[in-house]
């Protein structure tokens, strides 16, 4: 069965420090991968998605970047964190589909990031 791992669960980082959040998927190949951010009490904002190794699409210009060095590994990074980067970060995967869509996403358990 497919599983998705996301870590760490919580993180407190000072302003200006770097960030690296990792997400890995097991039990599938060539998944679509996604990074979302959720502000407190709000909906999810798509940050990045990837349809293959080295292929990253950015949805929102910001202080963050993403990389996909391996098929089932997705990394969210920042060189210098801002206070506004605080939030709940969620990684997700779906079946690769070049058609009309139609597959549910499987989410990781999330990382609560607090920038102080």
């Amino acid at each position: 069965s497919q599983t998705i791992h996301q870590w760490p669960a919580t993180l407190v980082q000072p302003v200006g420090s770097p960030l690296s959040l990792e997400c890995t998927v097991e039990g599938t190949s060539n998944p679509n991968l996604y990074w979302y951010r959720q502000a407190a009490g709000r909906g999810l904002q798509l940050l990045f998605y990837s349809v293959g190794i080295g292929q990253i699409s950015s949805e929102v210009p910001q202080n963050l970047s993403a990389s996909r060095p391996q098929d089932r590994q997705f990394i969210l990074s920042s060189k210098k964190l801002l206070l506004s980067d605080s939030g709940f970060y969620l990684c997700a995967w779906s079946v690769s589909n070049r058609g009309r869509g139609g597959y549910g996403y499987t989410f990781g358990s999330g990382t609560r990031l607090t920038v102080v």
Partner: protein, 110 residues
């Protein structure tokens, strides 16, 4: 890309009652999905309904889709305290990229 808008924003009911949440959107869709999020956790996929479908069931969940009105509803029958969570509708854009609404917070009281 568009997102759905859930209504109501918050809903409080007694255990055993039915809960209905609605989602409206503005442009044509390929499919619409519903997710549940328990506090501080990741989202769990509940149901996907395609644009050519009108109703789907999964256990105590019933989803309807009215493409002429650009709206969907999620009905949870015989609610339980464990159903307390936020519920989101999500729409598919190009390349299976989902956009989420701001959700309905459901509280089921004993």
């Amino acid at each position: 890309s568009q997102q759905g808008e859930e209504d109501p924003q918050a809903l409080s009911i007694q255990e055993g009652e039915n809960a209905t949440m609605n989602c409206s959107y503005k442009t044509s869709i390929n499919n619409l999905q519903w997710y549940r999020q328990n506090s501080g956790r990741g989202l769990v996929h509940l149901i996907l309904i395609r644009s050519n479908e009108r109703e789907k069931h999964s256990g105590r969940l019933r989803v309807t889709l009215d493409t002429s009105k650009k709206s969907s509803s999620l009905l949870i029958t015989a609610s339980r305290a464990a159903d307390t969570a936020s519920y989101f509708c999500a729409l598919t854009g190009g390349g299976n990229k989902l956009t989420f609404g701001t959700g309905t917070q459901l509280k089921v009281e004993l």
